[in-house]
Amino acid sequence: MIDIQLLDTPLSPQQCLERVQNAAAGGINLFVGTVRNQTKGKPVVRLEFEAYAPMAISELYKIAQQIQARWPAKHIVIHHRVGTLEVGEIAVVIAVATPHRLASFQACQFAIDTLKETVPIWKKEIFEDGEVWVAAHP
């Protein structure tokens, strides 16, 4: 089961976990990315996430399919938030269930690493004195 969603409402890690849980799984790894209160010491007021939705969903599916080709991960959930997020809010939840634990760690880390490289989602950090598209410039 692959469950990919872009949502403009708060994400539920508990729901993601429940969706991957199954009787054949021994290990479930969950990664939760949250909005930090600062970047390089500068206080962050809020974040804005923007996605090219159809392609973002398609690229997230590709990640899940790559995982299933490499690891025995029956169930994979990737939920990504879009819109305005306050400090502490959850931007992304990834859940992977595998028979043994090592694969769940490896697959979940592969998912977040690849997401950050390939999925067309953009994050703008809003500071008190301006705003910056994250990672746009070298």
Partner: protein, 80 residues
């Protein structure tokens, strides 16, 4: 031919909106389109990267663009 190009993130700021029209030679490739954009909007040269997506997929350099394709500018992504 006239091409409609969608932009996101900082690309939207650089071209001045989420959508722009560009006059390009027929049978232009993704690589050639990118070269034209870098020239027309020099601010793109300051980015870490700029990719072109055609119909929801990253384009290859030599991929030919047809007028009915959905063409999207993908500046450096920063999800997660």
């Amino acid at each position: 031919m006239e091409l409609t190009i969608l932009s996101f993130g900082i690309a939207k700021d650089i071209v001045g909106g989420p959508q722009c029209q560009l006059n390009v030679p027929a049978e232009i490739t993704a690589k050639e389109l990118k070269a034209q954009l870098l020239q027309q909007y020099p601010a793109f040269q300051d980015l870490r990267s700029l990719a072109i997506a055609i119909n929801n997929t990253y384009a290859t350099d030599d991929q030919v663009i047809s007028p009915t394709d959905e063409v999207v500018l993908i500046p450096p992504v920063s999800g997660g």
